[in-house]
């Protein structure tokens, strides 16, 4: 059960100031160098950062002596150190995480293990420790971050090989891993906020990695500012928490919450809604999703790591971490679920008409994050985290695969000086012949995201959709039913847009051009190995949480897959308190779909439908054929144009938010500041007349004399007074 029932404050707590206190009495889990997991990526950042500064200064010297701005690549010697340090620190951190995971696996963990290093902020009645918390939830996140993070670091070695900012790239990427780990390992809300804004900062730096290109720098800025709107929500939520509970530590908050907050009360609802605002910013949900598609301006492995696998899932982590609060606030939870379902559908519709391969994946990510929100919103916290994990596998794979494709296309167009867009799927086609590994692994990921049995996405997405329909209880049945329908529709669209992407990219005839085809190449080993590893995870990753009912129907007789509901049970200590609240207030779940039917039946239906959609879409797109971008104009009207232009949300925000803010700002400066206030001041003080007199003091040029006299004068006055 939950931590709180066993909440005996460990004697270590009194020694927190000393840090590295022995583990709590009674907890058999003995952490192994947890601080080092955090420290290693930070160290990597510092080392790579120093190398990057040195490289930057050399490059600056070249520019000063007349070279081109972003010209030239790093010499192999300059790549050596970042290549080992960058992936190296994350790899070792992954190994350390594995060891800790192994240790936690074998024991019954009744309470989180907290390591406190120093008092960060202690004032009046506030005390915030620089402390980390190790528990099942943070462990799952750490595994994903360091594991997938390591693979993406390795992939980047090949992908970024020729970039002049090689060391800077790894410095930022290491820093990101540090902040992401801080986000999930922090033992209190302010520590999470350190990671929360820290990853936003790294995202800003990496989206604008090629900052000399204005649109890319713009995209980074947009990401940061939009995220800050969310961060505002996070801050206010913390303020309310502290004002009502007097603490911001997870242990303290989650233990006190069920006592302090009445179910459905105003304060806890406000807290969850402000947390939700924070989550919509980081996890790119309606209404703050607009930054994520633009974030594709960053290097593609960045999109895989930050904008698919880890950072954008922080909102889901936040809700899962605060599950007790959300369980106590039904309106807050319904808001999470509704925003999630609507975002899932909305983003999926946009993905249908995008032609840039990364943008399809970006909207797909927004959509899948919507599914996760739906999961944690309907109280299926473990399911949300489960989808977070499987999505990290297959979406990272899709992005890395897209990266390999773009890499190859870019080389081909570069070699022949063809002025075509290397990311436009209309310029691709037939790539399966040139990059078979990418082709096969991306199909694996596509089947996984489409939710086809037995790939990873089937189990996780199915569980969310099932939960949204079957978990209907309390006073919100009709909403849950609606969300269930929306989620089903979004799932169908997922299969469509992903199949479209695969067919346009890899199948049919090659549209790049005959000369270009000669330059198309497969990816190097550093890139294909991570793809294969992620493909394996995309198949088997879902098997850690096969629902008991499905296991019995399909595998029971064979003794396969003993791990039924493993993740649910693993996360139980985190979610138990929330589930207890839900059970007490709402009663047991219905455990059948709104229109009837059990889990196994709907799972089978889902797989059959998804498979059929994939086949039909593939055939229809193959039959329709695709023409290169320059031959095909933009969609001319109707729904296609609307979707192609992303429902004009950016334009809408520009009209109602961006421009009015700028207008008000200019008005405040010109009218309020200069005309009203300063005008009044000048009139009252009649500064202009004073100017003549005071100004004459400066006319003689004897300023040193003034200063000397002034000094003497001060001394003389004081002397006289003292004596």
């Amino acid at each position: 059960m939950g931590f709180t029932e066993h909440l005996v404050l460990p004697p270590a707590v009194s020694l927190l100031g000393a840090g590295w206190a022995p583990a709590a009495q009674g907890a058999a889990y003995e952490p192994f160098l947890p601080g080092l997991i955090l420290l290693l990526p930070l160290l990597g950042f510092l080392l790579n950062g120093a190398l990057a500064l040195a490289a930057g200064r050399r490059s600056a010297d070249r520019i000063r002596s007349g070279g081109a701005a972003a010209e030239g690549s790093v010499e192999p010697a300059g790549r050596m150190l970042p290549t080992w340090i960058g992936p190296g620190v994350v790899g070792v951190a992954f190994l350390l995480t594995l060891i800790n995971f192994g240790r936690m696996l074998g024991v019954e963990l009744n309470e989180p293990v907290i390591r406190s290093y120093w008092t960060w902020m202690g004032t009046g009645n506030l005390n915030v420790e620089a402390a980390i918390q190790l528990d099942p939830l943070s462990m799952v996140m750490m595994m994903v971050i360091t594991g997938v993070g390591f693979l993406i670091h390795v992939f980047s070695v090949g992908y970024m090989k020729e970039d002049p900012g090689y060391a800077r790239y790894f410095a930022y990427l290491n820093l990101f891993v540090f902040f992401m780990l801080t986000l999930v390992m922090g033992a209190n809300f302010p520590m999470m906020f350190v990671g929360w804004e820290g990853v936003g900062l790294c995202s800003y730096l990496l989206i604008g990695f090629w900052f000399h290109d204005r649109p890319k720098a713009d995209a980074g800025k947009k990401a940061f500012i939009v995220n800050r709107i969310g961060d505002f929500g996070f801050l206010v939520a913390m303020f309310i928490l502290f004002a009502t509970l007097g603490t911001l530590d997870y242990v303290g908050v989650f233990e006190a919450a069920p006592e302090a907050f009445v179910y459905g009360g105003g304060i806890v609802t406000a807290i969850t809604l402000f947390l939700l605002l924070g989550a919509t910013g980081k996890s790119a949900q309606i209404p703050l999703f607009v930054w994520l598609p633009d974030a594709m301006a960053g290097p593609t492995p960045v999109s895989a790591l930050i904008h698919a696998a880890t950072m954008v899932t922080a909102g889901v982590y936040l809700v899962a971490r605060s599950s007790v609060l959300f369980a106590l606030a039904p309106a807050g939870s319904v808001a999470v679920a509704t925003i999630g379902a609507l975002t899932a559908l909305f983003a999926a519709t946009i993905a249908l008409q995008q032609v840039d391969i990364k943008r399809v994946l970006a909207y797909s990510t927004v959509s899948q994050l919507g599914f996760m929100f739906l999961g944690v919103g309907v109280g299926a916290y473990a399911a949300g985290v489960f989808h977070l994990m499987t999505h990290a596998f297959f979406k990272a794979l899709l992005f890395l695969g897209a990266g390999a494709v773009i890499h190859s296309m870019h080389h081909a167009f570069h070699a022949t000086h063809k002025d075509w867009d290397a990311q436009d799927m209309r310029n691709m086609g037939g790539l399966r012949r040139f990059m078979p590994v990418t082709w096969i692994t991306m199909w694996v990921a596509t089947l996984a995201i489409a939710g086809i049995w037995p790939f990873a996405g089937f189990f996780s997405k199915d569980e969310i959709i099932w939960a949204s329909g079957a978990a209907a209880r309390g006073g919100f049945e009709f909403i849950y039913t609606g969300l269930w329908v929306v989620a089903l529709a979004a799932a169908v669209l997922t299969a469509i847009y992903m199949t479209r992407l695969m067919v346009m990219t890899f199948h049919g005839p090659s549209r790049a051009g005959e000369e270009e085809e000669k330059h198309l190449h497969g990816a190097p080993l550093t890139m294909t190995v991570p793809l294969i590893a992620l493909a394996v995870l995309s198949v088997f990753g879902g098997w850690v949480n096969v629902p008991g009912s499905i296991r019995e129907s399909f595998f029971g007789g064979f003794g396969l897959l003993p791990m039924s509901d493993w993740l649910d049970r693993w996360l139980a200590p985190i979610t138990a308190d929330a589930q207890a609240v839900l059970l007490a207030e709402l009663g047991p779940v219905a455990d059948q779909a709104p229109v009837g039917g059990g889990h196994v039946f709907w799972g089978a239906v889902a797989t059959v439908v998804a498979t059929a959609v994939v086949i039909l879409t593939a055939r229809s797109i193959a039959r329709a054929g695709t023409r290169p971008a320059i031959e095909e104009g933009l969609p001319e009207g109707g729904i296609r144009k609307l979707l192609y232009n992303k429902w004009y949300v950016d334009e809408l925000y520009d009209r109602i938010v961006v421009r009015p803010t700028l207008g008000v700002s200019r008005w405040a400066w010109r009218v309020v500041d200069q005309l009203l206030i300063d005008g009044t001041v000048n009139a009252v003080g009649n500064v202009t007349r004073g100017v003549g007199w005071f100004g004459s003091l400066f006319q003689t040029g004897q300023v040193n004399t003034y200063a000397f006299i002034l000094t003497l004068g001060v001394l003389a006055v004081l002397g006289v007074l003292i004596l």
């Binding site: 404050l9 707590v13 927190l16 100031g17 930057g56 200064r57 490059s59 600056a60 520019i63 000063r64 701005a69 972003a70 960060w120 902020m121 202690g122 004032t123 009046g124 009645n125 005390n127 402390a131 906020f193 820290g198 900062l201 900052f211 000399h212 800025k221 500012i225 800050r228 505002f232 801050l235 913390m238 303020f239 502290f242 004002a243 009502t244 509970l245 007097g246 603490t247 530590d249 006190a256 006592e259 302090a260 009445v262 304060i267 803010t661 700002s665 400066w669 500041d673 003080g685 500064v687 100017v691 005071f694 003091l697 040193n704 200063a707 000397f708 000094t711 003497l712 001394l715 007074l721």
Partner: protein, 533 residues
């Protein structure tokens, strides 16, 4: 070791008067050696002041290093010094910023150097005097003394409209000071009539009984004077002009230290002297309202400034809004947050002015649109600029976050709506800062002139590196500062709330302070303060 040289007995006197001695000494040296001498002198003073950190006893009396000598006996004016945990860090901030400002002006100040550095040193005497005075008369003398050197620094070494800016600065602040002087005398005579003995000493004045109406008037007199200095909206319009026209070191000292005289005055005098007025709901509402307006309004105005220096100047107004918010939260957390914002703003905004100054020395322009792509040619400058910008907008891990977070948190307990409105400042901070960063450092290197700009040289690195280190150091481990401030802040809060405060002794706390600082889960379960049941 420090005790062996009786450090405690002379250090405050030395910190006040050594700069003045240095100012005289400057005139004995050839002009060409002026800047080296000034740097060595202020640097030496800074090293001397570091002993305060060692010698200040966090668990000791409220005011330490105290000394008093009769100055003008018949008026009860004394030369009394002493510092508490608040003034301690204000003095350290001042002694730190001075050598950095001097080192930062090596290339900027090319003429009449003796005069310039002498004025800067004179300014330091005034500033440290303000923070170390325990006699109100002495305080006022030093307070006024800061005005004159700054007036000359802007008026002589300033830009094109320096005269207008200097006069505006002088008239604005002098007007405020006069109001305060009237207030000081009223308070003085009132205290005299009660105690029967004339005295300007802080400890003699702090408990003076005043009616609510009297307090309100005096609050207004002191409050306006300090609000102009801070500056609080709408008294801020002298600031952008003064900053834009002032030479870089002038801007640095102005932003980093001089503005803090105002907020320091709030905490040191306004709240303890006039607790009834300061604690009155309407007064609080007005002050918080002005703070919130300042935060948002200044951020908006900053965002549309074409001149980088003016932009930074307006951000000062926004930051000072957070200080006022924290102070008038009247909670320990809020006031400690305000103090951290003051220190953090001194470091990060000081650094921003230095960086903008370095850009100006290279290009002789401060217009944001004249730059672009500088990260490619000046990576060190760009790195320092970005870190400073992040500290300015309060990214966690930097000092800016700690201050704003605590100020907002402290304010939210009592005034949730105001604090929530103020918290939108974090959005608008990104809105004014990131476009400037992008337009200066990022985008393409379009202008030919910018392609040959040199990166920071060693001197410039030495100027900026300590500030950057402090931004991060204070952001990660502010506790040594916070815990030294706590007793002084608790005393102010207790006093305003009507509690008894032993101003001459240990204030309010005593020994249970330890418990507060080191029990992380103290409040868990014990007493969930409120609930929505």
């Amino acid at each position: 070791m420090l005790n062996a040289v009786a450090y405690d007995a002379w250090i405050l006197h030395a910190l006040i008067w050594l700069p003045l001695v240095g100012a005289l000494g400057l005139f004995l040296l050839p002009e060409s050696r002026a800047k080296e001498f000034a740097f060595g002198w202020t640097g030496g003073i800074f090293l001397l002041s570091l002993g305060l950190l060692v010698q200040f006893d966090p668990g000791g009396a409220l005011f330490q290093f105290t000394s008093t000598a009769t100055w003008i006996e018949m008026w009860g004016v004394s030369y009394s010094l002493g510092i508490d945990g608040i003034s301690l860090f204000m003095i350290l901030l001042s002694t730190l910023i001075m050598p950095i400002a001097v080192l930062g002006s090596y290339n900027y100040i090319k003429e009449r150097e003796q005069g310039f550095y002498a004025l800067l040193l004179l300014l330091q005497t005034g500033i440290v005097g303000v923070f170390a005075s325990m006699d109100l008369f002495l305080f006022y003398v030093f307070f006024e003394l800061t005005l004159v050197p700054m007036y000359f620094i802007v008026g002589i070494w300033g830009g094109e409209r320096r005269i207008y800016a200097a006069v505006k600065f002088f008239l604005y602040t002098a007007a405020g000071s006069l109001l305060m002087l009237v207030g000081i005398f009223y308070l003085y005579f009132q205290a005299w009539s009660v105690t029967g003995a004339p005295s300007f000493h802080y400890l003699d004045l702090v408990g003076t009984p005043l009616s609510f109406v009297e307090q309100l008037w005096l609050f207004a007199a002191f409050g306006v004077a300090f609000s102009i200095k801070v500056p609080v909206f709408p008294f801020h319009t002298w600031l952008p002009d003064a900053h834009v026209e002032a030479p870089t070191p002038g801007s640095v000292v102005l932003a980093a230290i001089l503005l803090k005289l105002g907020t320091y005055g709030f905490i040191r005098f306004l709240l303890p002297f006039f607790p009834l007025a300061a604690g009155h709901a309407t007064v609080i509402a007005v002050m918080l309202g002005l703070a919130v307006v300042g935060i948002i309004y200044a951020a908006w105005v900053a965002a549309v400034q074409p001149d980088a220096k003016k932009l930074v100047a307006y951000t000062s107004v926004a930051h000072m809004g957070f200080v006022v918010l924290g102070v008038f939260a009247l909670t320990a957390t809020g006031i400690q947050g305000a103090l951290i914002v003051m220190i953090s703003h001194g470091i990060s905004t000081g650094a921003l002015f230095l960086l903008v100054g370095m850009l100006y020395e290279r290009r002789h322009t401060r217009l944001i649109e004249d730059f672009g792509g500088l990260a490619q040619v000046t990576p060190l400058l760009a790195t320092a600029f970005v870190i400073t910008a992040l500290a300015t907008i309060g990214v966690p891990g930097t000092s800016g976050f700690v201050g704003e977070f605590l100020a907002l948190l402290g304010a939210f307990e009592r005034h949730p709506v105001m604090a929530a409105l103020a918290a939108t400042g974090v959005i608008f901070a990104a809105y004014y800062m990131l476009p400037m960063v992008q337009k200066i450092l990022f985008n393409s290197l379009e202008r030919e002139e910018n392609r040959t700009l040199p990166d920071l040289d060693r001197r410039e690195v030495a100027v900026i590196a300590p500030l950057v280190a402090l931004m991060i150091g204070l952001g990660v481990y502010p506790q040594p500062v916070l815990e030294r401030m706590e007793p002084a802040v608790q005393a102010v809060v207790q006093h305003v709330e009507g509690g008894t405060v032993d101003w001459a002794g240990q204030g309010v706390l005593g020994s249970d302070q330890e418990e507060i600082a080191y029990d992380p889960i103290r409040s868990v379960g014990a007493e969930p303060a409120g609930s929505d049941r």
